[in-house]
């Protein structure tokens, strides 16, 4: 078996034990590749536990810029004996296995079709350090040094990273330099060169490297959110924690040191959304972030927000369901529950960001939408986008951009005698004016409730009054269509009757798959959907094609369901492509699925494939 040979295009996977200090070392490895100008997509695969269980870190190096998971491993850094067998098995033929050779292993534990790179890491550490904790921590840095040597990461790049990371603790810099050098030297001495190589490039450009949760939190800050109420749950916790950090940095009154924000860790998710609804009612932009179980618990309040028309924003960082499910794995499986959350007839806008840059944009936009539509807006992230650092375009904010607070009747308008009916559709768009508590001594006060009422907010159980209000809510949802970000179209190079719809974190894998399919002569017009309700452009796209694949990361084809139901689309047209095993979907998987179906399609009674 010839060893794999590749430049700036390979997959390295680290197998570790959590709590062992590997995460920061591995992260540094990935970042050093970026600093050499080569795009990287790195993903953590971790257990729902604190210490002692298997964890992996998968780094895809791709000068071509493919940021989805590729599948397969070219270089395995096997630091966890618990998972040795499966780790060794996952290496591509001709790939490389890097391991700690301090304790000799029988030949049966290896494979003949891979290259084995053993370095006695433990022995090196034991010789260099006496403190057990230092031995453990520096072992990670040592293997990074060794890998750097093997694939050709520049020493300066790593040293700069170390200096940056430990800027606040300069004492730590030199010990890390030393460890790095130890690894580099050991590798140079004991290992033969390998076929995987790094070469400086300009392919990264001005892109940034950021977790979706952090970007979404920045979006919330730029979007003017002042109240955040949350309850810890993986994978959304870091969104609230990032918001806290960002606000501490950027939202403190410079004179008084006081906070221009209020963040409450609530006792649970019901209280979190309750606080958000209370704050939204009272005119502050407010949000919560959670994951599936929290969405389940928030149902009643989301229904109140829908019917009483109170702005709220929920970031749902989706994980593997149902129930507690796979709490540290990724899925797009809350789409349906979020869209139709709560009992009775309800519908809620969703935003579907593709990457951290859109997490920022939609994170900010969500607050404008919630205020304009006076309802709950969901921003649907997932673990893959939320908790992994992604390479994406820089975040931007137009200088003159103002927050759009929607229809709020002011003291002046009330004072001038403007007619105020809290649920009165004055503009025909289904959106009524609201007032904020305390606005005027004698006008504009009203009683908010989850029960049926007339346009002037008076309790009513009369059928026609109820129906008129429910119809207005549908009108409002119609209005939402024009406010939701338009889908992004990616036409095929040739005319084709086949289309594909995708969204969110599936995007990078989809793009890679489109490229591969094109090379295989399969042409698909592609449309990335960015929100719900769907605009006419989405329906036009479907109308314009005979078959439309809908690619998503859940079992039940949830977005496809929404398209069928809301767009009155014949399901026969919509072919589901579903990857839902908890790992981010890969380009390979999508390509295989679509190819397979295309073969079926061309045999089908509708055989007009455009070639």
């Amino acid at each position: 078996m010839t060893p794999i040979s590749a430049v700036n295009d390979f997959v390295v996977k680290f197998a570790n034990v959590n709590g062992s200090g590997s995460a920061s070392a591995n992260g540094m490895f990935a970042k050093s590749i970026l600093r050499m100008g080569v795009p990287v997509a790195a993903r953590n695969i971790f257990p729902s536990n604190i210490q002692g269980l298997p964890t992996w870190y998968e780094v895809r190096v791709s000068e071509a810029g493919w940021l989805g998971r590729r599948g397969g491993v070219d270089l395995m850094v096997a630091m966890n004996p618990q998972t040795w067998d499966q780790d060794v098995a996952s290496i591509e033929p001709g790939g490389y296995l890097f391991y700690d050779s301090t304790k000799p292993l029988p030949a049966t534990r290896f494979r003949s079709d891979i290259q084995v790179l053993g370095l006695p890491l433990t022995a090196i550490c034991n010789a260099a350090y006496s403190d057990a904790r230092q031995r453990q921590l520096f072992k990670n840095i040592i293997y990074v040094g060794a890998l750097a040597h093997l694939i050709g990461i520049e020493q300066e790049v790593l040293e700069t990273l170390i200096r940056e990371e430990f800027a606040s603790k300069p004492k730590l810099v030199q010990p890390n330099f030393d460890a790095l050098r130890m690894g580099r030297e050991a590798a140079a001495e004991m290992l033969k060169p390998i076929g995987l190589k790094m070469r400086r490039s300009q392919a990264v450009g001005d892109r940034i490297y950021i977790e979706g949760n952090s970007a979404a939190a920045l979006g919330a800050m730029y979007g003017g959110a002042t109240v955040c109420a949350w309850y810890p749950i993986t994978p959304s916790t870091s969104l609230a924690e990032a918001f806290t950090a960002h606000c501490q940095e950027h939202r403190i009154d410079p004179e008084t040191g006081e906070a221009r924000h209020a963040i409450v860790q609530a006792e649970d998710e019901i209280a979190s959304i309750g606080i958000v609804v209370g704050a939204g009612w009272n005119g502050a932009r407010a949000f919560t972030c959670t994951s599936g179980p929290g969405i389940s618990l928030m149902q009643e309040f989301v229904g109140l927000s829908y019917f009483a028309e109170i702005p709220a924003v929920i970031f749902d960082v989706q994980r593997g369901g149902p129930s507690t499910g796979m709490p540290t794995r990724t899925q797009q499986s809350d789409i349906l529950l979020a869209a139709y959350a709560s009992h009775g007839d309800t519908k809620h806008p969703l935003l579907l960001p593709e990457d951290p840059a859109e997490c920022f944009e939609f994170g900010a936009l969500a607050f404008d939408l919630a205020d304009r539509l006076q309802t709950t807006v969901f921003v649907m992230l997932d673990l893959d986008i939320g908790m992994n650092e992604w390479l994406c375009r820089p975040l931007t904010w137009d200088e003159g951009r103002r927050l759009d607070r929607g229809k709020v009747m002011t003291y002046e308008e009330l004072e001038a005698g403007k007619d105020f009916g809290r649920y009165l559709d004055v503009d025909g768009d289904g959106v009524a004016y609201r007032t904020l508590p305390g606005v005027h001594p004698s006008r504009g006060a009203y009683f908010t409730r989850g029960t049926s009422r007339d346009p002037y907010a008076r309790y009513s159980e009369e059928g026609p009054v109820y129906v008129a209000n429910m119809q207005r809510l549908l009108r409002k949802f119609e209005t939402a269509k024009s406010l939701i970000p338009a889908p992004v179209s990616r036409p095929a190079k040739r005319r084709t009757p086949h289309g594909v719809i995708y969204y969110g974190s599936t995007t990078p894998a989809m793009h890679e798959s489109l490229h591969t399919l094109e090379q295989q002569g399969v042409h698909l017009d592609a449309l990335r959907v960015r929100g719900f309700p769907f605009s006419d452009a989405v329906m036009d796209f479907i109308e314009a094609h005979e078959t439309v694949f809908v690619v998503e990361q859940n079992r039940d084809a949830q977005l496809r369901t929404l398209i069928m139901v809301e767009g009155e689309v014949d399901p026969a047209k919509l072919v589901p492509v579903l990857g839902y095993d908890g790992s981010p979907i890969t380009g390979r998987f999508i390509t295989d699925e679509i190819s397979r179906r295309m073969r079926g399609l061309t045999r089908s009674p509708v055989p007009q494939v455009a070639e």
């Binding site: 970026l34 940034i208 490297y209 920045l218 800050m221 730029y222 003017g224 002042t226 109240v227 109420a229 950027h250 939202r251 008084t256 006081e258 906070a259 221009r260 924000h261 209020a262 963040i263 409450v264 609530a266 006792e267 019901i270 209280a271 979190s272 309750g274 606080i275 958000v276 609804v277 209370g278 704050a279 939204g280 009612w281 009272n282 005119g283 502050a284 407010a286 009643e300 309040f301 109140l304 975040l395 931007t396 904010w397 200088e399 951009r401 927050l403 904020l436 508590p437 305390g438 005027h440 001594p441 004698s442 006060a445 009203y446 009683f447 908010t448 409730r449 989850g450 029960t451 309790y459």
Partner: protein, 351 residues
């Protein structure tokens, strides 16, 4: 014909207060509660307290859950914004409202079902968080609106109109509030306007979580089997049909007793309530002895009323969070958005 008209809650005297408002300016819609319901008396006391405090009525926000008690905010302070939220979750909604605008006064109105059953968690956590609010539970020991089931404050041994006996331990919200660190804790009786109105005024003036448990008899579904053994046509009629069909208008129960005294109240169903008003010498600033006092009298079957505990120097949630003085809902774009330059710097740090 059978429509029972409800008196509007206003007082005959329409003297203006310091702000020029009369009591009528603090009233709300006509109550749709049963005639004689204790909750209406509490509404009257709230109106009176707001009037006497010279509050600008629109500077107060009134929030509630679901229940007969939770409907009452519609019946007072018609110029205040009100929010009838979902069952048991008023405390979180109030917390959010208070975070959005620290300048308004927040009045939370709830029932014993709303706060001690489904809402126990939110009640407890809003109190321990020190939300600046006046939290009134209109405690009738029963679910009024859903027709007479036990709530978590029903006494063990009490029997519902459907004959079910309650065995669960009763929750004493006052004891709980003390334990949870409320900085103002009081109890009163709906019919004791002389005690209740000043307590509400004090609670509103208090900074921090102020809790008042107001015993408020339900004229329909009180849970004790009456001691009246005489033939009662209405009772028998409903019992025979096994439904609560005919409902009798009742008089409000009022009391008038001095500090230190014990007052025996006979409820509509004939059951007895022993109220003990804290004596004038009682020191309400010692939390631990307040708890002891409460336990002691409870063991004797007495219900202590009055201001049990107050921490005059309490801090509230905004103090804890260190929020700016200007209400968050009034911060402008410039105060909220760090702007493009800051974003460029953030981008730089992410390369």
């Amino acid at each position: 014909m059978t429509y029972i008209t409800k008196p509007r809650l206003h007082h005959p005297l329409l003297a203006p207060n310091a702000l020029g408002f009369t009591r009528r300016d603090y009233e709300g819609k006509v109550s749709t509660l049963c005639a004689g319901c204790g909750h209406d008396s509490i509404s009257a006391a709230i109106i009176q307290a707001a009037y006497e405090l010279d509050l600008p009525p629109h500077r107060l926000a009134k929030l509630s859950g679901i229940g007969c008690s939770s409907k009452t905010p519609d019946y007072f302070l018609g110029n205040s914004h009100g929010f009838n939220a979902v069952h048991g979750r008023m405390p979180s909604v109030l917390t959010g409202a208070s975070l959005a605008n620290r300048e308004l006064i927040y009045l939370g109105v709830s029932g014993d079902g709303d706060s001690a059953s489904i809402g126990l968690g939110q009640f407890a956590h809003s109190v321990r968080r020190g939300v600046n609010m006046t939290y009134i539970v209109e405690n009738n020991g029963v679910y009024g609106l859903t027709k007479g089931q036990f709530s978590a404050t029903s006494d063990p041994g009490s029997k519902s109109k459907r004959g079910v006996v309650n065995h669960d331990q009763a929750i004493d919200l006052v004891g709980l509030a003390l334990q949870l660190g409320a900085s103002f804790v009081a109890r009163s009786f709906s019919g004791d306007k002389d005690q209740l109105t000043p307590l509400i005024k004090a609670a509103i003036s208090h900074k921090g979580a102020a809790f008042i448990d107001v015993i408020s008899p339900c004229v329909q579904f009180n849970n004790h089997v009456g001691s009246t053994k005489s033939f009662d046509y209405v009772r028998e009629h409903n019992a025979a049909l096994n439904r609560l069909d005919f409902i009798e208008p009742r008089e409000e129960i009022t009391v008038d007793y001095a500090p230190g005294e014990v007052e025996i109240v006979r409820q509509h169903d004939g059951s007895i309530l022993k109220l003990r008003k804290l004596s004038a010498e009682y020191d309400p600033t010692d939390r631990i002895s307040a708890m002891g006092h409460l336990q002691l009298h409870q063991a004797r079957g007495e219900v202590v009323t009055g201001l049990l505990y107050v921490d005059p120097d309490a801090k509230d949630l905004h103090d804890h969070l260190g929020t700016v003085q200007k209400p968050l809902n009034q911060l402008g774009d410039a105060e909220l958005i760090p702007g493009p330059a800051a974003l460029a710097a953030i981008n730089d740090s992410l390369r």
